[in-house]
Point group: D2
């Protein structure tokens, strides 16, 4: 009469910090890791039979144990090791690892960057989403928590007007957003030797540079322009998805105070916000 | 060379409060509304042509204007009016309205409940997700932000053990979670006359009662048991999805202080947490 | 050349859950506890000498150990035990314990309230702030996270107008706030036998009833009216402090859509907000 | 029978963005401003008489109007203008302005830093707290939201041990904190010509460099060492207050997995946390 539909389970928000104590300096890594498994877990749901259920506590332990020696490169590479480990479980169809890496800068000392003291950057979060099955793996990478603003070269006009439309057309507005971007690498990325750090850095710097350079007739077009530039810059990327809130900045009416406001003073808002979500991919 | 993939856009976090000033008392409604449209918006993305783009500001205006006279019943009914309005747009394939209703209680006065003063409940958020196309509509309802705990009748044992497993088996633990539940109504729900409030209340009270009554061998089984009970209770519901974090409560080791701890003192944690996500549906 | 000024240290956000397993039913308590010590800690700051420093980890342990048998009544009473324990330390001048208690309701079953299943209320947080020195103790109690709204009987007019004033006077507006209230009990409250639960409940219900009943010419006056009513109702209370944000609700202009808006549709906002902070005390 | 005690009111979270459109590039400022007034507001509280009450909406308008031409330098200078304006009000005894400035970097383009595109830094928030009375002004500055970590040169040993102490002594631990620092300038800072930006930058860089360089026997001593270095570096600073959570990082026990853990793998936690609050000032 009833059946189990889509299901997944795992451990979320595993907070992992590692310190590699090199001779000259320490290397600090700071990640939040989520593990999720899909597979044939009908018995656990329907029969209360936990036989083939990996405890989420075990997932957490595995992440910390693997971090001892295998978190030596990109978060994507660490995610691949974890995903393949979990995907080998008898009941597991697909293991997904989401890794968010939080950046830290070395503190500036008189003699140069500190070897063992760090300040958290806070400018963005690097994301990796790795999934493995028994026969293969996929790797996605991305950016979260990157807040950007253009103070010109952004317009919004020519849109549909109906009886509920009051928004004025504008050829010059502030455009601000908090970028969530995710992109998918082709199959070769899951093979040894792919340089995830370089690929991520190219994607990040391209996204930012194009954000700064382009003229934006709408957030939708901005996604297209930034995403196609990222695809141009990185043949390894198959698709780019962006989810961009439009964080409206309203020009303050200063006329009651005898002042004009030529694009000078704005109210920054977060609620409500536009929300534009689009994927751009290679054709065919 | 590139093409537009999945895309949607809209306005999020439209904060709407309405007061209906009846003779004897005021009725207060408090909702957060998100509007999202899907359709053929290729020109807006690829060509910077906004001709058929409904401004998200217009969406916000529409929600407030519709609230003037049409927010008289369930949030699902209000969502259907909005969804059908937006779905009629030339470029729109599908309009989705997500409504979160925040509950308020009347303040207790000496003479009974206040006619015009309210306190926000905070025990849960009622959710409705309504989508309309040019040919039909679907209605989903749900619950968010409902934190519940069982202080017994929860076990976890018999799970897989590998070299990374340290968790002890237990036949009696605290089980705490913050419920996110969503369920889908069949087609008849989108027709006039369906009582969304009664259906939601049945689902809510069934979920809670079964949460309290059942013996839980795992969070997975709890979802199955609660969801099948909700399907039993409401023929109008086709499927139930639950996303349940396992908010671990660890028994404190009081032995160093010469005390035992027979299930008395716990550390409440939120990070890391298990996360169990499953859908249960009618067969066939 | 330099000296240590005001200082305090302690452990914050100790998350404590206790379950008392009575024959017929379980009793659930859920608190967040902060411990802070003041005293002569100059050596620890200036000389790096930790000799008389109680580790904050020890504070945490003490809270959990004390909770084993002594969290049997009001949070204020538990706080007094903790405060007096820490105040006895050789270096300690004053120990302050802040306790926030989170309410849970029993889940409704067919046969009545569940004996062992609970749902978190979320309507407010009960606060107690207890401080002990070697010679005495003070007890304060309060409320946080209580969001309330009046849909009429709130005005704001006759205020000062200068060249930067644009706000219209109004004799009927929504008034919404998230109450933070703290009140101080007289010395007798620290003696055995004082009924903290009854005193807190009287204060809470008085605050809410008066909030609902009174006419508010300003948030400032509302504080005065509510606070004096609380002082009237409880001779044990010496003073009441309230910190009330004015969570503005703006009437939506529906005229562009051919609709009037007679106090019906509002935008709920949180930013910016007024913030009114005042203490009312017994004279002399 | 009752009287009004301490009171203040104002507008909080005024979100202000300004763009100065210079010939070659735009300059972006992003602040959150709080205004608070103290004075003789008894009539407003006790009598419901708003005659001398400045509406908080007027405060907001004033901030935006002043930002049109007067936000040309340090936040402290802007705060002084606002504070003196409000302090001139007939009923006002003291006007306090708290300004939090959010940093933005120019986006990197191929040809150099973008003239009109920015990314929010997120590494810290610059704070200024300015207060004016009818006869003078005080200026405080500070830092919030700065998360830092030392991966060595931090110990904690020799502390008091009682029956509730289980913490092991350590001569090498991670020390992580989220800095809240505030410091007070002497009277000359409120006079024209004081370079607030340079003073803040000296304080920030000194705090960070000393954080990285010093050996920490406790968070308390770290505050003393950092604060005295800041006082050494800036004669204009009279006192420094720091509020530092101790964000514990626990060494993971990897022995069950056959691995040692020589200071390599840690669990990052935020709850519970130590909280150390101390002020260091010039003697006399």
């Amino acid at each position: 009469m009833y059946e189990l539909g889509a299901n997944r389970y795992g451990k979320s928000r595993i907070r992992l910090v590692t310190v590699t104590r090199e001779a000259e300096r320490h290397v600090l890594r700071d990640l939040t890791v989520d593990v999720a498994l899909e597979g044939d877990f009908t018995a656990a749901h329907v029969d209360g039979d936990n036989t083939n259920l990996v405890a989420t506590d075990t997932m957490k332990n595995t992440v910390y144990a693997f971090a001892r020696d295998r978190l030596t490169g990109a978060p994507e590479a660490f995610g691949l090791e974890l995903a393949r480990h979990f995907a080998a479980g008898p009941q597991v169809g697909r293991a997904s690892i989401t890794l968010r890496e939080h950046g830290w800068d070395r503190v500036a000392l008189a003699g140069g960057p500190a070897p063992d003291a760090f300040a958290r950057r806070g400018d963005l979060t690097r994301v990796a989403v790795v999934a493995a099955t028994k026969s293969g793996a996929t790797v996605e990478a991305g950016i979260e928590d990157l807040t950007v603003m253009k103070t010109t070269k952004s317009a919004f006009s020519g849109f549909e007007r109906d009886r509920y439309t009051t928004l004025a057309e504008t050829d010059d507005r502030l455009m601000a957003t908090k970028v969530t971007a995710l992109w998918g690498y082709g199959e070769t990325a899951a093979e040894p030797g792919f340089d995830f750090d370089a690929a991520w850095e190219t994607a990040r710097s391209t996204l930012l540079a194009v954000f700064g350079e382009h003229f934006s007739p709408s957030v939708q077009t901005s996604i297209w322009i930034m995403a196609t530039a990222m695809l141009d810059a990185s043949p390894a990327i198959d698709w780019v998805r962006m989810v961009l809130p439009n964080l409206h900045h309203w020009t303050v009416n200063l006329e009651p105070f005898g002042l004009d406001n030529p694009g000078k003073v704005f109210v920054s808002t977060t609620e409500p916000h536009g929300l534009i979500d689009a994927t751009v991919r290679r054709t065919g």
